[in-house]
């Protein structure tokens, strides 16, 4: 597991990607107006969540329709720490990944025995059932009302150095370091021996077992790591204003999967492209539809229709996704 440390070139490559990513986001983000800066913050949050799908489904072959539930675990952990103990978000968000990791370990232990449609179904029911816990324990989780949290205001040293950012801009700056760290870790994992072990489980469990891989244990590791990514995304997602059952619906899990598939389910770059498509698609469609005289009934459902059509077309025509083409070399 610790072979990454022995292999400085992997760390260097990941670091290079991360720095490039951070600079690019900062450069692009500073040219945007507030609305698009908030959208870009959502892209970064989703990106972390989509990375969990990439690791789980794309790299190790375990389909999950329930990453939204793990996002809810992360969100509630952060919100409870921040509202009940008034802990700063810079501590509460990293702490939330512990909660998500524990939930992921439990899920992984159950999921290691399941495969294919059984796993898809179980995770789907989890996505549906977990948010209802909020209504079961009203006194702690406050039911449908939820727990209001936000990113607050920048500290004085920040405003002294960089001037007063708008709220949307500050949202982006809070999310960016977490997204960069997530990217760094995901990139490391994919390039390292661990990533290759997970790919071997995806390609053939029995063959992997014959080369000495304990696939049940590795599946649990995959679930823990993926849950940590999802929990982090969920914590940041809640910081947009509210942590409640309505913030983490089943549709959120499906959005993450859609983004991962559209971009390319096996690559980090694909995860980012897919996220950008999913987040900005409604805006782009509105822009195009503005030229036509359409009733509200039609234009309300257009984004859903087009993104679903894109999903089907991607799967049927090019299942490797936008970024997938060059990564897939035939080895048969």
């Amino acid at each position: 597991m610790s072979s990454t440390a022995k292999n400085p070139s992997i760390i260097r490559r990941s670091l290079r990607r991360t720095i490039f990513f951070t600079i690019a986001i900062l450069a692009i983000g500073s040219t945007f107006e507030p609305y698009n800066q908030a959208q870009l913050a959502v892209v970064l949050i989703y990106f972390i969540g989509v990375l969990s799908v990439t690791l789980l489904t794309g790299i190790s072959g375990q389909i999950s329709l329930g990453q939204g539930a793990l996002m809810a675990v992360g969100g509630y952990t952060t919100a409870l720490l921040m509202t009940n103990y008034s802990i700063s978000l810079w501590i509460a968000v990293p702490a939330s990944i512990v909660g998500a990791g524990v939930a992921g370990a439990l899920l992984g232990i159950a999921a290691a025995r399941l495969s294919g449609p059984y796993l898809a179904g179980t995770t789907l029911v989890i996505a549906l059932a977990i948010p209802t816990i909020a209504n079961r324990f009203m006194s702690v989780f406050k039911g449908d009302e939820g727990l209001p949290v936000d990113v607050g205001y920048p500290p004085t040293w920040f405003t002294n150095f960089f001037g007063e950012p708008t709220y949307e801009e500050w949202q982006l700056y809070v999310v960016l370091p977490f997204a960069a760290i997530a990217l760094f870790f995901a990139s490391n994992l994919l390039l390292s021996r661990t990533g290759r072990i997970w790919k071997s489980i995806r390609d053939h469990e029995t063959a992997a077992a014959l080369t000495g891989v304990n696939y049940s244990r590795q599946k649990i590791y995959v679930f823990i790591i993926a849950s940590i990514f999802a929990g982090l995304a969920g914590a940041l997602y809640g910081l947009r204003g509210l942590v409640g059952p309505s913030v983490y619906p089943v549709a959120l899990s499906l959005t993450l999967l859609t983004a991962a598939v559209l971009g390319g389910i096996r690559s980090i770059f694909g995860a980012f492209i897919g996220t950008v498509i999913v987040v900005f698609l409604p805006d782009w469609i509105d822009l195009v539809l503005g030229n036509f005289e359409l009733s509200e009934q039609v234009s309300n459902f257009m984004p859903a229709l087009i993104s679903s059509l894109l999903l089907i077309l991607t799967v049927v025509i090019n299942p490797a996704g936008v970024a997938g083409g060059s990564h897939l070399h035939k080895h048969k």
Partner: protein, 303 residues
């Protein structure tokens, strides 16, 4: 005792519909190797067609049979347009592993669900509408108290039982049914022995489409019809299929009734808020004890 009987009756009636949904899922899983998450989207679509026909002055039964036919046609169409091209992609590297072969069609069916729900929103708007029942919906009176069991429930249970019997006979006694079972068992061998596997796959999509349309027609009188109403029914039906064993039609029926009763008893004795957690509990307990479901057979691995 009254609560117990009430829970039993309403659980049986709901369970019959969940059994039908689960059966539809099992037929496509066995016949085409796909878990069809779009199934209740198809049912929603054909129920809307029936509802439109009935609102325009046609009789209930015209709407009923047109919906069944539309469900079958839509199922066949989806197989031909989406799933058949997808299954021809098995040679590509992404789909060379078993895990991805199971995952990719699931994603495609989620895309189909999204398209159907958006189209329904565009065509029929998103507002909820009621759907008529062909029989009275007042409860029978047993020993002085009104039971939540109506003539409509009797209609539901009998029509579901007839459908289940017909499906069993179809699979066991007819040549086409035999061909479909052979395709499910091993597609290559079935094709080598002269079975047109593309045809049997499409046929299983059509049968499943009709079965789920029937489920849609039977469940919407007690809920309401909107593009998303049947999502929950799908999740419950899917859980039923997994609990019973995805490979086993009998298991699907058993799972449907188990789920119906569990949901009903939890609703009556605990609270409706606990329903999803109890479904999750049932699912996890069954899958930990028997990962392939109650009647799903042995979990075998082959190199």
């Amino acid at each position: 005792m009254d609560t117990f009987l009430a829970a039993l009756f309403s659980g049986t009636s709901r369970g019959a519909i969940y059994a039908l949904v689960a059966l539809g899922l099992v037929i496509v899983w066995r016949g085409a190797g796909v878990v069809n998450f779009a199934q209740m989207g198809q049912a929603m679509f054909s129920t809307y067609i029936a509802s439109t026909l009935i609102q325009n002055g046609n009789s209930y039964w015209v709407g009923f049979f047109v919906a069944l036919f539309a469900g079958a046609a839509l199922g066949a169409l989806l197989d031909i347009l989406v799933m058949r091209p997808l299954s021809n992609k098995k040679k590509t590297e992404l789909l060379s592993s078993e895990s991805m072969r199971a995952a990719i069609p699931v994603i495609a069916s989620l895309g189909i669900l999204g398209v159907l729900q958006a189209l329904a929103g565009i065509i029929w708007a998103a507002e909820e509408r009621g759907f008529p029942a062909p029989a009275a919906q007042e409860g029978f009176t047993v020993a002085g108290s009104v039971m939540p069991f109506t003539s409509f429930d009797v209609f539901v249970i009998s029509i579901v039982l007839v459908t289940l019997t017909m499906t069993t006979i179809f699979f066991k006694k007819t040549g086409v049914g035999l061909a479909m079972r052979a395709t499910a068992l091993n597609q290559e061998v079935a094709r080598l022995s002269g079975i047109r596997t593309n045809f049997t796959r499409t046929l299983s999509w059509a049968i499943s489409g009709a079965a789920s349309s029937l489920a849609g027609l039977l469940i919407t009188p007690t809920s309401n019809l909107s593009p998303n109403t049947l999502d929950l029914v799908l999740i419950i039906g899917f859980t039923a299929a997994v609990v019973g064993g995805l490979n086993s039609p009998a298991g699907a029926v058993l799972g449907g009734f188990i789920l119906g009763l569990v949901i009903s008893f939890v609703t009556f004795y605990l609270s409706p808020e606990d329903v999803f957690l109890s479904i999750l509990a049932v699912l996890l307990i069954v899958l930990i004890v028997k990962p392939r479901g109650i009647l799903g057979g042995k979990d075998s691995r082959r190199v």
